[in-house]
Symmetry: C2
Subunit: 237 residues, 2 copies
DNA sequence: AATATTATGTGAAAATTACAACAAATGTAA
DNA sequence: TTACATTTGTTGTAATTTTCACATAATATT
């Protein structure tokens, strides 16, 4: 009997509904935190695999990434039974499963808008390719940047975004322009058919409900740190 | 009657205990998510203030940053009564309070280790100064990078980290070296007295309990997006 | 073959976080 | 002055997430 799993992640994620006649439709609600941890587990498994380790327990994964063993098992249990009781998990297999779950069993072309310092760093970042990402287009609307070569990529004018995005089959856009222009760029991305956006600018971006958007927010993380350091030294709030 | 507030943030944060004789000691447990949102509210208030807006309601803040009005009020209520019923919040005052709470009523010197592409982008990032951060030192152990000038900063050898960190009173270190060296750099930071670490490398770093560490994790966010896009197109997991 | 050991998967309990509803306070208009 | 509209601060409630505890299964040992 085939079970089609209907995964819905909680928190900020939009709900996803799918129908599948004649099959059991199981509605799963997966915490966003679980998906994030899955990404961490997956990277840890990659390291184990590289080191020739073939089997791992939930406890070892837990130690390796700093969560509880129960959390590891619970997280994995959302997606299936991947382990063997009394033994643990096969590293290669579990790695393959986690990658599949995260959608990393395929190549993901990305588009970056903003060829400034951050955009440059992103373009040259070696980490992407390991996980199946590659930059398929970099855009800017500053004439001093357009035409510049970054690695084997040429910075294109923003006007070409829709055309190239379509040709390259890009579904994920990355915003690396200065704060005041981020919303404008997001709008263009949405119009050009991006289904997901990763935003590096420290500002709240508005997009339609069906577009996935996440922020990589340096300031929030830094200010979380100063908050914590602050209460260690401040007499009262 | 003076109330000394003992703030403890939840999740990954370490608990903080303070004593204060003769005063009411109220133990607050603040969700990390609340602190993160406070950072977002604070930035939104900065924008309002810049636009000359003097009063704002929880509903307007909520609309501006994409949360519920109740959430805004609840978050603020952890730290005090900042509003006026029937009126709302004074923008300038609330901005000042949020900055104070986040520990941003002082200058924070930062140290960056890794003068690669990301390190360079961070050094030249204009966003820091607005919130009271400034890069007080950049370090690398690659001889081709040492001595290079980034803005008005010179890249120093990593060996000088402890000395400069002490002289410049640096408490927060930023890791921007390649993944395989991140733990090593973290160890040096801890030994040099850093109390908080911001890590950009996609790997789990181990530090003593009393050191605050947070990750700015590009991969997790990207893979959250591919997870969501994946379940929209994949027939079954 | 029986027993011990190890480690998964899971249902129930506990903890945490978000949400909703409303009383209290303020300002405004009749 | 009174009634009305607005919006906070707070209490209770619902939803979500994590943790706990253990039955179950696989392997190792005696
Ligand atoms: N530099 C960092 O380390 C860092 C870290 C985190 C977040 N950020 C954020 O990332 C963003 C970019 O930072 P940066 O340091 O690269 O700034 P930058 O000034 O170096 O680069 C901005 C780039 O965007 C381009 N641009 C501006 N408007 C555009 C538009 N409408 N369309 C296309 N391109 C446009 C500019 O020409 C420039 O090349 C900022 O919002 C910043 O706050 C930067
Ligand atoms: N480039 C990006 O956009 C980006 C984004 C997110 C995360 N990251 C992560 O940030 C890290 C750095 O990325 P990058 O693109 O700047 O890489 P990079 O190769 O350009 O720079 C790495 C720098 O660290 C220096 N370094 C290496 N070992 C060191 C040590 N022991 N002490 C001091 N310095 C040392 C190197 O000399 C080099 O200058 C990586 O872990 C990467 O995964 C990069």
């Amino acid at each position: 009997m085939k079970i089609t799993t209907n995964v819905i992640i909680l928190q900020k994620a939009s709900s996803v509904k799918r129908k599948s006649a004649g099959e059991i439709l199981k509605t799963l609600r997966v915490p966003e935190a679980t998906v994030s941890r899955l990404s961490i587990y997956s990277r840890f498994l990659e390291r184990l695999d590289k080191n020739g380790i073939t089997t791992v327990s939930s406890g070892e994964i837990a130690d390796g990434v700093g969560v509880s063993p129960a959390q590891v098992r619970k997280d994995l249990a959302y997606f299936g039974d991947f382990g063997t009781r009394g033994v643990g998990y096969n590293v290669k297999d579990l790695l393959k499963y986690t990658l599949k779950i995260l959608g990393l069993d395929q190549e993901w072309p990305l588009a970056i808008v903003g060829a400034g310092n951050l955009g440059f760093a992103l373009c040259t970042n070696r980490g992407f390719s390991v996980r199946g990402f590659h930059i398929a287009g970099v855009f800017d609307n500053n004439s001093t940047r357009i035409g510049k070569q970054i690695g084997n990529l040429e910075v294109k004018p923003l006007a070409q975004f829709p055309e190239i995005a379509k040709k390259e089959n890009i579904r994920i856009g990355i915003i690396a322009v200065r704060t005041s222009l981020a919303q404008e760029v997001a709008d263009i991305m949405v119009k050009s058919g991006m289904q997901a956006i990763l935003n590096f600018s420290p500002v709240t971006i508005n997009v339609p409900e069906d577009i996935e958007i996440r922020n990589v927010d340096l300031s929030i993380k830094l200010e979380l740190l100063t908050f914590n350091l602050g209460i260690k030294t401040t007499q009262s709030l």
